[in-house]
Symmetry: C2
Subunit: 207 residues, 2 copies
DNA sequence: TAGATTGTTAATCGATTAACAATC
DNA sequence: TAGATTGTTAATCGATTAACAATC
């Protein structure tokens, strides 16, 4: 096994398996088969077994994969250990939903700061966070070692919010707005596009 | 050009291009090159040109693609025309954000109903919608011809909400909760997994 | 004309799938 | 033992990429 970067497809699928394993564990399961992983991930079961067996024999024939064990191995492969801090831009309904969600915490992601442009929102409390003004983005990102920024702002404010984050040192932008966001090389922009995914799902429904 | 179903990858990428074209149009552009489409979609520019040229010569050398024209052609390829109705389950922060968003409307998706289990929420108004009780799911889905259901409920309520929608005839479930959702064959479940996508982005940041 | 970008080829690599022996 | 499921092979298909002539 060479220590090279994984192909994009493999890394994407392993991340997906990890997410599913975490949820399956929560629902009380201790083992899971490639067939069940396939149902939840929409990845072919043979492909799943191939992905995993490239790194070792993680399963038991006739039984499936032990969830705790497999979770540990995939975390190793993805170098996923420890905590990472996130900043959320925008404290509207979407920003509040993201900051309150447990979805990130399950994977070691900690929402460490919440910012808003509106003076009326500054100081209001969301869970354990207090909404901060944009003037504090730079200092907070550096103090807390934030490497991921989440855009939960209106489309017309998305690029400006991204610029502030990138200037402060953020290298990964999660864009929940519809707007297109430009970034220099070295910064990864990942745009959520529910409408795009819906178009895709609908195509297979219509045909 | 045979009238067969597109490969999954092609349909996914065309959906993505359509989403980007819609946003690029909004920002005032009238043309776009495969290189720019590549920056926003993270798809290789040669791959984009190949995807498009499989259906015809849509571009102009030295200029790029006309956004309006290309939008029309991709809509044809994806059989995307007309309106489709959505139902959103859950009127918390996330459900409210989804129901208020323009992201879906840009592609002909109309949020036609919003449901909640909490008696205190019933009757409250979100945009042009009034929150309805779960007892009305079945009738509303059938009356309005709703084919897509969006889960914006707490994880422990996700499966029950999905079951109600499926029983009423919904064939596409968009799961915004972290929970795993089971569905019979014939129903497509599409789970958003921001944490999973973040794991993926982080892997390439860490390596 | 000069610059830019498409459309297309060719070569390589990864994904997909069926099938099945191994084995829990 | 019987049933289930992994690990693996082999064959095919789609994705990726560089390169470049065509042409706007």
């Amino acid at each position: 096994m060479t220590e090279e970067r994984l192909p994009f497809g493999v890394a994407a699928r392993l991340s997906r398996y990890l997410q599913i394993l975490t949820q399956a564990k929560k629902s009380g399961k201790s083992n899971i088969s490639s067939r069940m992983l396939s149902e939840y991930s929409n990845v072919n079961p043979t492909q799943i077994r191939r992905d995993l067996s490239a790194f070792g024999k993680f399963g038991k024939r006739g039984v499936g994969y032990n969830i705790d064990y497999l979770t540990g191995r995939i975390k190793e492969i993805l170098h996923n250990s420890g905590q990472h801090n996130l900043a959320v831009m925008g404290s509207g309904n979407l920003g509040t939903a993201i900051a309150s969600s447990h979805a990130f915490a399950d994977h070691g992601f900690n929402v460490a700061a919440l910012f808003d442009a509106a003076p009326g929102k500054i100081g209001s409390v969301v869970g354990s966070l207090t909404v901060q003004p944009l003037s504090e983005v730079s200092d907070t990102v550096q103090e807390k070692g934030i490497i991921v920024g989440v855009l939960a702002v209106p489309p017309e404010a998305a690029q400006a919010a991204a610029n502030m984050l990138m200037k402060a040192g953020v290298r990964i932008i999660f864009n929940y707005s519809e707007a297109l966001v430009d970034a220099p090389p070295g910064v990864a922009v990942h745009s959520m596009s529910p409408a795009g995914e819906l178009l895709y799902a609908l195509y297979f429904y219509l045909t």
